[in-house]
Amino acid sequence: MVGFVLIMLVVAVIFVVFLGIYLRKNANAEPVDSVEISQFLEAAFQYTTTCRISGNLLSVKELITRCQEGKDCVGEKSCDVLRETFIDLIESSWRFEENSPTKGYQLSIVKEINGPDAVLDNMGGPTTIAKPPSTDIIRAAEKPLPGGITLRLEIYS
């Protein structure tokens, strides 16, 4: 009888330990590469913004480069236009409400210099346009751009 109880206790402890490891692994879940978000970014790069230079309107892709170089549009800051444009595009594409499946997002535009571990850009650090996430399920996509810039969008569910 004592032996039986001991065995059951040992088995239960091992089970709880494995369960704990599994739950902790899920809590720090890696973002899942999302085809949908990747498609969104590809389409968004073509989008015509309101940034005017020499009579021409820039695309989002051109505007990111302009913002990174510290140059402005006619009558407004390029980084401000970029921020407003991305917020508009993201919030038109997904609903971020209490009852919707998507809860938040984070967009970061990062320039790497001196190797992958050094992150610095002319915008004074990673530029983030963010709403606070509330759960662990993350879908994300990254797009490299010319000049060592990487754009990453994470959507939280």
């Binding site: 085809v35 590809e42 073509q46 989008y47 595009l89 038109s92």
Partner: protein, 162 residues
């Protein structure tokens, strides 16, 4: 005397049987819990893979549609994977193309800039199982006398073979 001795042995035997029975029940419950946890984990990974497959299908459908001459944007050199919004508008007003593609439903929705607009090319009500994919839309802008690129979504459902 014989009877009393038999009762004592019988009680010990019964206790042993009960102990074994409890142990078996406990083991069964434990393994049942392990099986439940295992299947829960397996189902989760299956759902993830199914979702990935759905997204890949939608992407492929969008790529195919944006490559057809009827919808492809060929006027400018800016975007090879764009859909020509002006062509799509013509198609939505034409009955001739309702059966052109092997699709039960095809709608091109412009989501930005406002106002949103739906171009219904095939079908009326969006059926279950419709795939969606983001696309860039190109249209001629009279004000700037140049092409403008906007953000849209393709909603499409392939014909189910009879």
């Amino acid at each position: 005397m014989q009877i009393h001795r038999d009762a004592g042995y019988s009680k010990k035997g019964q206790l042993k049987i009960q102990q074994t029975a409890f142990m078996l029940v406990g083991l069964f419950i434990f393994f049942a819990m392990v099986a439940i946890v295992y299947f829960t984990i397996s189902m989760k990974s299956l759902e993830g893979r199914a979702e990935d497959l759905r997204e890949e299908e939608a992407k492929e459908l969008a790529r195919q549609l944006s490559g057809t001459p009827e919808l492809a944007f060929t006027a400018g050199s800016g975007c090879s994977s764009c859909i020509d919004y002006d062509k799509a508008r013509e198609l939505s007003e034409s009955l001739a193309y309702k059966k052109f593609w092997n699709l039960d439903y095809l709608v091109i929705e412009r989501i930005s800039p406002e106002p949103r607009e739906d171009l219904v090319i095939i079908g009326n009500v969006e059926p279950t199982g419709t795939k969606i994919a983001f696309v860039a839309l190109a249209r001629w802008d009279r004000e700037t006398q140049d092409y403008k690129y906007e953000l849209g979504i393709i909603h499409a459902l392939a014909k189910i073979p009879e």
